[in-house]
């Protein structure tokens, strides 16, 4: 036996490799029943987009939050804001970007206090948390209806198997949307930023909520004679979650509105700043908004 001692380590290593490979293969098999957090990045984007559209229709924040948990983003609010920005930059639907931004803002405003219905959903084997999602957060009240929409001919056997149910008169939901109360943002600061290190004509916007926390995903509209552009706060989280900026052109006067309900701030132009030799140079502007 002692003559075989040198084989002990190879046997252990071979066993370890075999065990690791077996685990990998078993995981591959389980991958068929994947959770949303395993989705490819672009599919996760589609999941978030569908989620935001759904939230826009139902205003069910608990359910939206529970669904977001399934994606496993470390910071769901930042992920939503970043996606809104990416979609705007790619010229995608503004409505969709807005849905994402609104969801981000509402989640931010609601804070972490909401129950995470699907907190266990990412761990497999603990039952179907995702399945509990729709029934766990009833935001839609139902009233019975006698009208049953007729079905067309079922194209496949699978559809035919549920046709009976589809034809059965069902209670139709009556929506009771819960509007998120949103007071308009107020301009609490407008300062000329005079610094030669600053980009000329830089318009900086910082948006705070009523708890003095910076708010990401807030829709900002800047308009000028013959044009308009939308952007959102939170694009530069390294500066601040509620920060956004824009470069103003020379000789153009802008008006700016924060969120859809905000009062437009008009007459915004590049400020002129005097330097130490009485020469003028172009500075920037800083606007600060807060929810009352």
């Amino acid at each position: 036996m002692s003559r075989l001692w040198w084989l002990w380590l190879p046997a252990l290593v071979a066993g370890f490799v075999l065990g690791r490979s077996s685990a990998w293969m078993l995981s591959s098999i389980r991958h068929v029943d994947a959770a949303p957090n395993a989705l490819r990045a672009d599919f996760k984007d589609q999941f978030r987009a569908a989620l935001a559209s759904s939230y826009s229709a139902t205003h069910n924040l608990d359910r939206a939050r529970a669904r977001l948990v399934l994606l496993g983003d470390p910071d769901p609010v930042a992920a939503l804001s970043a996606q809104a920005q990416r979609m705007l930059a790619a010229g995608r639907s503004f409505q969709l970007a807005r849905d994402l931004a609104v969801l981000a803002a509402d989640l931010h405003q609601a804070g972490p206090g909401l129950p995470l219905v699907a907190a266990a959903a990412t761990s497999s084997g603990a039952g179907s948390a995702a399945a509990q999602l729709p029934s766990a957060t009833p935001a839609i009240s139902s009233t019975p209806s006698v009208a049953a929409a007729p079905l067309l001919e079922s194209p496949t056997a699978q559809v035919a198997s549920t046709q009976l149910d589809l034809n059965t008169p069902t209670a139709r939901p009556t929506r009771t949307p819960i509007e998120t109360p949103r007071a308009p943002f107020q301009l609490v600061g407008q300062d000329n930023e005079c610094s030669t290190s600053l980009t000329e004509g830089l318009l900086q916007i910082v948006v705070f909520d009523n708890h003095r926390q910076q708010m990401p995903g807030v829709d900002i509209t800047i308009a000028w004679d013959g044009g308009e552009q939308h952007f959102f706060t939170g694009l530069k989280p390294e500066i601040g979650n509620g920060y956004a900026d824009y470069i103003m052109e020379r000789g153009v006067t802008y008006s700016l509105r924060v969120a859809q309900t905000g009062t437009p701030i008009s007459g915004l132009t590049r400020p002129s700043c005097p330097d130490s030799t009485a020469q003028a140079y172009t500075g920037g502007l800083k606007l600060t908004f807060q929810q009352p």
């Binding site: 036996m1 075989l4 002990w8 046997a11 252990l12 071979a14 066993g15 370890f16 490799v17 075999l18 065990g19 690791r20 077996s22 685990a23 995981s27 591959s28 991958h31 029943d33 949303p36 395993a38 989705l39 490819r40 599919f43 589609q46 999941f47 569908a50 559209s53 759904s54 826009s56 229709a57 139902t58 669904r67 399934l70 179907s128 995702a130 399945a131 509990q132 999602l133 729709p134 029934s135 839609i140 009240s141 139902s142 929409a149 079905l151 067309l152 001919e153 079922s154 194209p155 496949t156 699978q158 198997s161 549920t162 149910d165 589809l166 069902t170 209670a171 139709r172 939901p173 929506r175």
Partner: protein, 120 residues
């Protein structure tokens, strides 16, 4: 024969260590999954999200586009599968109604094959 027993034991211990390492210490994380590989209840919830939007905007084209995430399956079939899952896992009646509404719209929106030579 007993001389090989320690080796066999070490080999088995190695397998056990490999499994423990892969499942507990450093789990194998397979990512980049396609939506078609989602578990049935997650798929049903995704369809419900689309159904909730559809109930508000009645945009069948958009719903069809969103359902295309699942690949080549017909949208009506995807909705029917989702509805079956919703019934199995106990979705509320209101949620099932939303999926049914979407399923009906997807079926109504499906091109119906006309036999060759048949008059429309």
């Amino acid at each position: 024969m007993l001389r090989g027993l320690p080796l066999l034991l070490l080999f088995i211990i190695g397998i056990a260590l490999g499994l423990i390492y892969s499942w507990a210490v450093n789990p194998v994380n397979l990512v980049d999954a396609a939506p078609a590989s989602l578990r049935a209840d997650y798929r049903a919830d995704y369809v419900l999200m689309i159904a909730e939007s559809f109930h508000a905007n009645h945009d069948a084209g958009l719903a069809r586009q969103e359902l295309a995430i699942f690949g080549v399956q017909a949208p009506a079939t995807i909705c029917a599968s989702a509805l079956e899952t919703a019934i199995q896992v106990g979705y509320s009646q209101a949620d099932r109604s939303l999926i049914q509404e979407l399923a009906r719209a997807m079926q109504a929106d499906s091109p119906i094959a006309t036999p060759a030579g048949a008059r429309p």
